[in-house]
Assembly symmetry: C2
Homo-oligomer: 307 residues x 2
């Protein structure tokens, strides 16, 4: 049993109100892999890096059950680089630099060893690349999860719509849901988006939690109220990794189990934002995760029998 | 066993993107009374109205166990009138008219028949009036709940701070919590506000639910995702009425039971916004309320045992 995970592996330079880092490891695929590997193994990674991507990082991920058969290492080019600066409220950011480097000519190849995987996590990346991976799989995975962002809605909507027809679960944030549907009400937005292909829609609302929609059902997952969000980079990817990691760990794609998967994803996101980059996702132990999950239970459980 | 409820009884003219009403019954005390009376009786009302306040409304409230010994009817003046217009997102509004009328000289008197009540709900009103009611009570209620708003923070902060020292539960929204504490993080805001007097703090976040803070504990109540919010007027008061109504019904002021009280309050608020004014709060039956509460259970319950 395995997850195939497509996403970038890259370097980021990040500035937040709490500090600044010049060049640390990042990328959607990196965050997904670190988060998911706490819950299940193997993670069958599909990505591309340059000659500058640290060997120690690859060793660290491999130790955690992340397979690299599908990761292309280009010897004479640099890894993807992104630089951004967060505003004071941490809800919005400006992109300062995007150097595609190896990503410019990325043509993902699904290795033979990955064929047959039960779950597919399509991390945030060009929709054409996401589609290519889906089409290379001889057996359709039991669940295909897609993460995307407003950038692709603005620049590659037609490609994105083709991908939407082939997936099961879409992960987007509230402003992206509004953009994709042209509806302000998230309930109306969800109805429209569920007609575009996905059977399940997760709308992430940052500090306000997340909503899961499926047919007429809806689930509201809280976000852990945090005193400080240190660096939001990768929080959405960590959420996706926790989500798909829980699904693979439990082999259960029911609505009820997806509720729990969203709580696990929220827990992973809550760790992710505590330090720069994927640092906290590397440090945390199984005990840390269990403790955080019980905080989520405390946070949202109530007894209605007294009413 | 009883609740004393202080609040305005008034007329409102409201414009929302869905329509417009010229002069309908409103006021914080009216909404609190309608919401609370579904859960418990009597509600011992303290308010003031003019000669124009409809007899049928008073009859209707009395039928629901709302007592009027503490409601002054001024024969030669008009009731308080407020007019406002909501913006398209329904999260903000402009006040168009505020005619204080009878409220200008309101000097609330606690009738002898109200002395001994277990619970006190101080609806949104001038802090000096809220303080006056607290000081007239010979036996301190088991729980004093305060609703207030940014207007009083801007115009009567010193009075408001005196009230905060004498209450148990403060109900405010997220922007008010930030204003009162000068902190953006709601966790930090809550810590500061709990040092101003209240033992419990409820931060209402509209469509994003509500947070309950007490010492180091926190609870996150979801809001029901609604397709349309028809008229947000009175939602906060309906929340307060559901909250205090549940507390009086159960006679239990523990943190655990306050969680449930917040869910009941959220359910009442979700009904309130479905039509103009307090109309939906008048129409709903016990079955409607039970059904809505079970929707909240569905919305937020999850099973963590599989992780």
């Amino acid at each position: 049993m395995a997850i195939i995970s497509l996403g970038s592996m890259a370097f980021d330079a990040i500035e937040t109100p709490f500090g600044k880092v010049d060049k640390i490891v990042g990328g959607s695929g990196t965050y997904v892999a670190y988060a998911a590997s706490h819950l299940t193994q193997p993670i069958q990674q599909i990505s591309i890096v340059g000659n500058d991507f640290p060997h120690e990082e690859i060793d660290e991920l491999q130790k955690r059950g992340v397979q690299f058969d599908g990761v292309e290492i280009v010897p004479d080019q640099k890894s993807f680089f992104w630089s951004g600066k967060y505003h004071l409220d941490m809800n919005s950011r400006d992109t300062l630099v995007t150097d595609l480097n190896v990503l410019a000519n990325f043509n993902p190849q699904v290795p033979e060893t990955y064929q047959g995987a039960e779950y597919l996590m399509l991390g945030n990346l060009m929709p054409t690349l996401q589609l290519s991976v889906i089409e290379q799989l001889r057996k359709r995975p039991d669940l295909v999860v897609l993460d995307t962002m407003n950038y692709w809605m603005a620049t590659a909507m037609e490609d994105l719509k083709k991908v939407l027809l082939k997936i099961d679960v879409l992960l987007i944030n509230d402003s992206e849901a509004r953009e994709l549907s042209n509806e302000y009400s998230l309930v109306k937005a969800a109805k429209k988006i569920l007609q575009l292909g996905p059977k399940f829609l997760v709308i992430k609302k940052g500090e306000h939690g997340a909503l899961l929609f499926n047919e007429d059902r809806v689930f509201f997952a809280p976000a852990l109220p945090l005193e400080e969000v240190f660096d939001p980079t990768g929080a959405g990817d960590a959420f996706a990794g926790g989500f798909i990691g829980h699904i693979d760990h439990t082999k259960n794609i029911s609505f009820e189990n997806m509720k729990t998967a969203i709580i696990v994803g929220s827990a992973m996101a809550s760790f992710c934002v505590e330090k720069f980059g994927p640092q906290r996702l590397k440090e945390i132990s199984r005990q840390d995760i269990d403790k955080r999950l019980s905080e989520f239970v405390q946070l949202s459980n109530f007894n209605i029998s007294l009413v």
